[in-house]
Symmetry: C2
Subunit: 610 residues, 2 copies
């Protein structure tokens, strides 16, 4: 089996990591030997300096680093050599201490919002995996610098809840498998779990509940002393939580945090709370305001080992959202930034969508050092290439690079990924990198230009459906009528902009100042609204849809001209054909929808179906 | 268990039918004894006259009838006495020889479009049932006059395909259970089944295929000599069929018909064929035309023991459709009329929807004696009351009565059902009957007035979704824009009206002549179109939505005033609350949808949400 494993961005590491490599130092030594031989270069020495932790320095043919740092150093050295880039100078250390991957894998082997096959480590309610494959994955994570893996879905169902109970020995074995790669496990827990064990309540202020969790934490960390922590989705989309008992989320999180604090565990609490039973007739409630309203009053109340994990935008991983105001509202809370590699709303690993440029925009809008950790919803699965689309691997690699250095140039990161993965002639490499850099913009144009999110098919979230969420419970409305479209989220509207500090509010408050790409996120505008470039709003809607679709067709031509290796070339071609079909559907459905409403004809006479 | 069985419209038959009643004569005798004792009346004698078949006559305290006819006579006698109605005079015999119920039960125990619990006879891939419960069901079917039961879904999946193979002994046992009630079984088969047995093809003109089916038929009728026949859904919604082999549906049906003809079996072939991969941009294709286009050219080619089963309307059991033109196009073919008791698009046994008035309208539009049999998709399941909503039992009972005498007064049928089921004071009974008679009209007003079907949520088919099927593959479009709504199906439009004979075409061809309740089925009209009563089209849309919702609220008041027995009273109240919620959602979503498009204000200033 091992010889068939795909090596993604590490094709030169063309042998499996053997099971005998059971420490980061052994992995580092093995990889250097294997990689340098493959690359035909001399191998540097390794020197462990424990005080350096995850940091490393490469100098005079020696890689010095902490116990895990030498592993990162080894991959950095090999990657630089393989890509023909200079090795990093000086001491390197990660920007964020916790660089987390959140798998939404279910115990039954399915993956919520998974687009690359079934779970790599669950099947039939059990933890089970293929050794060589997991070690190849460990190699991938370590080479990207990812150091925490939450193994199970935040929506915890019964078999998964047993991971910290009778399934703990299996979880410990998985932790053993990833430990040599510097990857610590995390586990999603169910807030109400004491109820399943006869405690009679899950009230966080109840001493029996506190005792139950303390006892559980003792057992869990006895089995896995370096477990990173617990991840919790509470009171969100029908999950249990402290609200049941009239307690705040600080009370709920702190109770768990105190149970695991003696073991050095981190309690990651997701700030994804909103009314998912909203009446569409209710125009006073505005979902993007929900997280800030819930959490800002709790600022300063969370324990030191709590991380409040906040999605990048106030909605839910849409193509374009402003940065969540919660990041500004909680200076006295440890916050983690959550992004999503799984392309739930962004093409589902069929349509190409490289994320590093987007993440770079996000950090540019975050107050410096506001965020103390980062997490990404995984895009991994059991497909041969791990990520469904071969190019989706760029998001996994790019996330690790981003988590290590969020201010790195996104284009350079994508270029390194492309060089490592495919040794293309320079012009082809340039074309591929340009295509990736532009890919989000293309997808945005045909699906959600001007910040007009949520026009997707309900449930599966792929393909257009302009009223799909319009009369539903989820707080996601465009309110398009024959005259205008969008929701007024300014001070005069729902007041969402008031959650931002003044400078940012000023950027969005007036329609004429608001950037085009968020115009309809913040404003309700008539179809004949004059955009800064002189076009009308409706013409801009049409133009972007036509252009995005045409650009996806051009992408196919570019891709056809690249000398990609098989099976990547075939996989890319097949998925690109689906992307074009998707883009045409988006173009035509959205154009028809807005044409039926507005009656406005396309200025260029292109085909809009009746 | 038996004492908890619900008796639906036969509360006076308050004991189970014992297993020892293994012939219709024994059942008839048992029921008469039980029923007459309960009603405190003398019991008539039974006299079998085999030549009378299913017919019977009640005279001078003697019920004379055929072997099954005496059973029908016994129930007719008891029902008349229990309802305080005169016993039927003269010889009674059914209008249609085959009065069929089609269960869409899957072998795994689920029921496709089932709204009253799981299958009564399938679970876990096996045929299995509760004896007393099945005999109570047999009593219900016989008392309504239903004489054929197709046990499995027309969409045949693997375990169900085995019913005519290794599961045949189980099927024979079920046939034994129903035989004393005059009910013969039918079974849905999979056209491509020979492939699963190594035949290599399912081509109906291949002698190996013909031989395979002949051998199967021999085995099946050896086990169940009175099996009514096979039911087939072919080349429809991804089911296999003769098109795969370039054969016509006549060739496919006749091949099967010839295999079962020696055993007296009937081959029922569903005429539900259309392009379920239509591009919404394609305005030339019009789904209602599909069945007639496929089958009319085959008229006269089907064997004598083939029944072509045609749905009442050209779409699929919508609230309001014209009669399918296929009924007019095939004078030389044996046709069966298919209706649907399962309220897939008509309230799902939550919303009240009594069907007899609708069926009466349908037969009024059918050429006399065009149809030689009738089938109804079942609304039965394992719920205590068999039909989810207690009033949905009226549709099962009413279907049997309709199949026996399609020209009977629907109000009289519903009144008899109400009298038998609930012995209400006269004013209450009048109120209940009026409510039932009006129930379809209420549902139509808030969901699909003016013939505007298909604005439902995709997949589950409950609740409003005005664009739910608009950009989809199913050929079901309203094409509403800011000026107009509907599809022009006249000679100047898609030409659908040309499929009707001239008199009927004249009824629909011109918008001003077309009945209001089908206006938007046949025509595309502007919102300011002047209806005959002087209202605009848009005002009529609004008015009906408001009125339908208000009428559903009034229904709740009426129901609250009835002295219904428990648990019916609670079940009815709970479902009525859901119906009102549904009606409000329909009213508001459709009003908002059309208000956003048209910009027209309600003439009466009622609330339409933005």
């Amino acid at each position: 089996m091992s010889t068939t494993l795909r090596r993604t961005w590490l094709p030169f590491l063309n042998e499996d990591v053997p099971e005998t490599c059971d420490t980061p130092a052994k992995v580092a030594a093995y990889e250097l030997k294997l990689g340098c031989a493959a690359l035909g270069i001399g191998s540097p020495k390794l020197a462990v300096e424990p005080s350096m932790g995850e940091g490393y320095a490469i100098k005079d043919d020696t890689i010095t680093g902490g116990s895990v740092g030498i592993l990162y150093g080894a991959y950095a050295f090999l990657s630089a050599k393989a890509a023909g880039e200079p090795v990093p100078e000086g001491t390197q250390s990660p920007f964020w201490r916790l660089r987390m991957l959140n798998s939404w894998d279910n115990a039954d082997g399915s993956v919520e919002r998974g687009y690359s096959g079934r779970s790599l480590w669950f099947e039939g309610g059990e933890l089970t995996w293929d050794g060589p494959r997991i070690r190849q994955l460990g190699r991938m994570l370590a080479s990207a610098g990812i150091n925490v893996l939450c193994v199970n879905n935040v929506n915890v169902r019964s078999d998964a809840a047993r991971l910290i109970e009778d399934r703990l020995p299996d979880l410990a074995r998985l932790a053993d498998a990833f430990r040599p790669f510097g990857v610590r496990l995390m586990v999603s827990i169910e807030f109400s779990r004491p109820l399943a064990h006869g405690v009679g309540t899950a009230d966080p202020l109840d001493v029996k509940v506190q005792a139950w969790w303390a006892e559980r934490a003792n057992a869990v960390w006895a089995a896995i002393p370096d477990l990173a922590g617990f991840l919790v989705k509470a009171d969100s989309e029908h999950r249990p939580g402290p609200f049941t008992y009239g307690r705040t989320h600080a009370e709920g999180a702190n109770m768990l945090a105190r149970a695991i604090a003696p073991h050095g565990g981190t309690l990651v609490w997701r700030a994804f709370v909103y009314n998912c039973q909203q009446d569409w007739r209710d125009t006073a409630t505005d979902r993007p305001k929900a997280a800030c309203e819930t959490y800002a009053p709790l600022d300063g109340q969370f324990d030191e080992n709590v991380l409040l994990q906040v999605k990048n935008g106030p909605f839910d991983f849409q193509v374009r959202e402003p940065v969540s105001p919660t990041f500004y509202a909680m200076p006295n809370t440890n916050l983690a930034l959550e992004v999503q590699l799984a392309q739930e709303y962004t093409g589902q690993q069929i349509d190409i969508y490289a994320m590093n440029p987007m993440w770079r925009e996000i950090v540019a809008d975050l107050p410096p050092r506001t965020v103390s950790a980062i997490a990404a919803v995984s895009n991994l699965g059991r497909d041969d290439n791990y990520t469904g689309h071969p190019f989706a691997a760029a998001n996994l690699y790019g996330f690790g690079r981003f988590a290590w250095d969020p201010f790195a140039d996104p284009e350079a990161v994508l270029r390194t990924w492309a060089r490592l993965t495919y040794r293309l002639p320079a012009a082809q490499e340039d074309a591929l990198v340009a295509l990736l850099m532009n890919s989000r913009g293309v997808y945005e144009k045909y699906t959600a230009n001007l910040g007009l999110d949520w026009m997707v098919n309900p449930h599966n979230h792929y393909g257009p459906n302009p009223l799909g969420y319009e009369f539903d419970l989820w707080g996601t409305y465009n309110r398009a009528d024959r005259n205008a479209v969008g929701v007024d989220r300014t001070a005069a509207g729902t007041g969402y902009t008031l959650q931002y500090p003044e400078a940012m509010r000023a950027r969005y408050e007036k329609a004429e100042d608001c950037p085009d790409n968020l115009k309809l996120f913040f404003h309700r505008l008539p179809y004949d609204y004059a955009m800064a470039d002189g076009r009308t709003l409706i013409q801009r809607l049409y133009d972007d849809h036509f252009e995005g679709c045409a650009e996806s067709e051009a992408m196919a031509e570019t891709l056809a001209s690249l000398d990609l290796p098989e099976p990547d070339k075939t996989e890319v071609r097949e998925r690109m054909a689906k992307q074009i079909k998707n883009a045409r559907e988006w173009r035509d459905v959205l154009n028809t929808f807005f044409h039926r409403l507005s009656g406005a004809e396309d200025a260029h006479g292109r085909k809009i179906y009746d």
